[in-house]
Symmetry: C2
Subunit: 511 residues, 2 copies
């Protein structure tokens, strides 16, 4: 796709970062040179090359240069600890590590302790440390490499996900998966040649990478900020006339809450693509008032799907929209079904597991054949998400399957109970889990963080729930917590951790 | 894609044909039942099922039912003779033949003489003959089959092409090729959920089939006429509020020439997709005056590419557009290069062979490994078309490589000479070929059909050329012809046939 972009839009700005503008011809040239440099550093065609860095135009180039050389890219989670990154680097048998100023210390330790890591390449803004290669010198001194031209079904990268289940899993993706997800994204997000996409979400994450692919397919322009920061994002949106951006709902709320937003001209922003959670009617209404020229698209998926599964389109985004709580419908790339435990489709309206099939499905989990066999059955990716589908094909996420509570033979979705409890004005945050119960198998247990100054008893919380949801769904017990919940790299509450103290000496089928 | 369409647009009209309207749920149901019927007729998972019929909703269903059963479809050319169809049926080892009223006689003979053909299925509008199965009864009596779910890279059909080079070649395509070409078409032709596509081009042809796939991906509506007929097409465009149609330039001219066109409301027609040849400024201007709400897209490709390679978008379609003579730029699906005989890219502006790489490339020619190896090299499909590429990535087709004339060491493109000659008002049609010459290797030879009452001598034609093109490109000899040129199934002049009498006793490198 870089070749096509350089052919049809050669003189257009491909990347804009830190005041640097590079055309597609320049970027293609740099990519082909860095591919040569990787080979001269001893990378064979199936070597893994990891990146631990904030967003930059060099990170962008690495995403294309590594597969150009026939190698596989391993984007590392910038929120991880050294130990987690070491785990991923060793698990993926990474040989080369790219890093920037923000991660120089970590990179040095990984270089020392990583089992197979032979070289580190500095892609930052200053001078390379003496223990690392300098990206710019490597590019300058190398001649362009021919494209390795691997078959579309062969691996292009290992994307780590999770951590909520004990260890991060490396998702192995093919070129085809990434490309087909990109093609459906071009259509679903209505992105054309004139698109200017802002990389405000972290580049290591599949959500931002998908938009990197999409924007490159149409030879649009990539505007890059190192990381999310309300003023930097607002400035970039205005100054670079950005048309598309990916944000999680929390980021949207932060932008809307920043009083300086009214000083920026954001009229060029056509689409905000959000994911991870539905948007609330209140946030949507505020956003529509603040950004009258912008429309919203929800994307639902997971790393295993590179990452798109369903899309809720702009026309379903209006206050009072009956579809606003849904995650939308299947993209053009996939089949989506809701199935029972035996894998049979359930009637519309019933809750089951979301399974997805398409060319965007992962090849498998790196080094975990048993987990792959469990997740990828007959070509269907089992997402681990419980949802129902309505008559129009829209899906409504109920819970993570493993967070579902089975109490007295009934399924309780923790998310539904959490919504009921969090509607109380004194509640700051809440997590609902199943704990062992001799009588019920599991019983519903709520862990509540109150607002500052908030006062609420266990009995009051249960009574609050009884007014809103069925009796069997209401918590049997409530625990108050005074520190934030443990979060995963993707900012999700680690319920496994919350369940642990309750389940010692017991066995839960899924953790 | 049928599953997705039935899920998200189940109650929408999928097909409209002969007054019948079927929803996507109905069509999906019929497809799954016919798949069962195919199995009960003894089709194993790699059986070939051929179709010889005019356009219909049942033809549409067959295109999806055959792969649903895991079998491969073989659409037969409705313009072919019995012998050509027999060749294709035997070559492809077809076991089942679907046919309609227009081809009942031919079908009966194929059933008798085809080597492997076991059964015939009647998909027409009346009663099935007693020697054939009735499609509707088969569908009615079968229960729905589960999708065969073959891997994306496995074969879905054999599409015959050519005949200009002696025998038709079966192009074997994968599900992936057809789907990826479809995905880029959704973007390139700007087709959305509200699209209503008119099947006016023959369904056996890859161009119409591509739009069948595209329209189904977005769950649009298929409006079907049995075959091209100006009044039927104009009526369907108006009555069914068609938004998109594929036409070859000759069909566009026929529609524009029909005086009744002014009686039809064609304001819903958003796009005319045309191919096979550039549109002339005169036709475009007339079309723009007659159809002010319609815009034009040129698609260039070939069966081997399922079929898209390049696209000339609506914005380049205006009288005086500098790109109007080009075939556009690479679709989002492919890489396009212009190469010399050694396969190296030539500088922009120089003529070479168009080669194309992408997931839409054929798996190969059925039963012709040597021809496959010649055409598909390192993943690049060698199109046999000579063209140049400009600085913006637009390609300009010069000629078929095999129709190029090499005279005194210079390359002459027959198309350029034909354009010069046909600009004379007395010329009705012209074909330019190379004939053996002791002095020049080949010499340029024109075969001219004059208009009724037109008078022109060999000397006048050569003089007419000298005013327009370089001397070495002008014909050395002119022959007058009084009957139409022999045409291939795709309506192309069979230059091989025209060359034959001149080359007896000589050897030409390519025929």
């Amino acid at each position: 796709m870089i070749e096509r972009a350089a052919q049809v839009s050669g003189s257009k700005a491909a990347t804009i970062c830190n005041g640097r503008r590079k055309t597609y011809v320049e970027v293609r040239d740099r990519i082909t040179r860095f591919a040569t440099a990787l080979r001269s550093l001893g990378c064979n065609s199936d070597a893994r090359v990891a990146v631990l860095a904030l967003n930059s135009d060099r990170y962008f180039e690495a995403y294309f240069a590594v597969p150009w050389a026939g190698c596989q890219i391993v984007p590392l989670n910038i929120r991880w600890s050294l130990e987690e990154n070491l785990y991923a680097v060793n698990d993926s048998e990474t040989e080369i590590l790219l890093f920037d100023d923000a991660f120089a210390d970590t990179a040095r330790q990984i270089l020392g302790r990583g089992e197979r890591v032979r070289r580190a390449v500095y892609i930052g803004e200053a001078e390379a440390p003496d223990w690392a290669e300098n990206y710019e010198s490597l590019v300058e001194n190398a001649s362009p490499a021919a494209n390795a031209n691997v078959p579309p079904g062969s691996p292009m990268g290992v994307f780590y996900t999770g951590g909520t289940t004990g260890f991060p899993k490396g998702v192995l993706h093919s070129h085809l998966a990434v490309w087909s997800s990109g093609m459906t994204g071009v259509i679903d997000f209505e992105i054309g040649e004139d698109a200017r996409y802002l990389h405000a979400a972290p580049m290591f994450h599949m959500a931002d990478y998908a938009l990197m692919v999409i924007t490159t397919i149409v030879s649009g322009t990539h505007v890059i900020v190192p990381m999310f920061d309300t003023v930097k994002v607002l400035s970039a949106l205005q100054d670079e006339e950005v048309t598309h951006v990916v944000l999680v709902p929390a980021m949207i709320q932060m932008l809307l809450a920043d009083p300086s937003i009214k000083n920026f001209d954001l009229s060029k922003l056509r689409r905000i693509i959000y994911g991870a959670a539905p948007i609330t009617a209140a946030v949507l209404e505020k956003a529509m008032n603040t950004l009258p020229d912008t429309r919203f698209v929800q994307a639902f998926g997971q790393t295993e799907l590179a990452p798109l599964a369903t899309i809720l389109r702009p026309r379903h985004h209006f206050p009072g929209s009956p579809k606003l709580r849904s995650a939308g419908r299947a993209t053009y790339c996939v089949n989506v079904k809701i199935v029972d435990e035996a894998g049979n489709e359930v009637p519309r309206g019933e809750v089951g597991e979301v399974v997805v099939r398409g060319p965007n499905a992962m090849l498998g989990y790196w080094n975990h054949p048993e987990l792959t066999a469990e997740t990828l059955r007959d070509g269907w990716v089992h997402t681990g998400d419980a949802a129902r589908m309505d008559e129009d094909g829209f899906i409504y996420i109920a819970d993570r399957i493993k967070d579902m509570i089975i109490t007295g033979g009934e399924n309780v979705f923790s998310a539904e109970v959490e919504n009921a409890i969090s509607s109380h004005e004194h509640v700051a945050d809440v997590a609902v889990i199943g704990i062992p119960s001799e009588e019920w198998g599991e019983s519903v247990h709520a862990i509540v963080i109150l607002n500052e100054g908030g006062k609420l008893t266990e009995v009051e919380i249960i009574a609050h729930c009884r007014e809103r949801i069925a009796g069997y769904k209401c918590p049997k017990s409530v625990e108050f917590r005074f520190e934030p919940f443990p979060l995963s790299g993707a900012n999700k509450v680690l319920k496994t951790e919350l369940r642990k103290p309750h389940w010692r000496g017991h066995t839960r089928e899924v953790n």
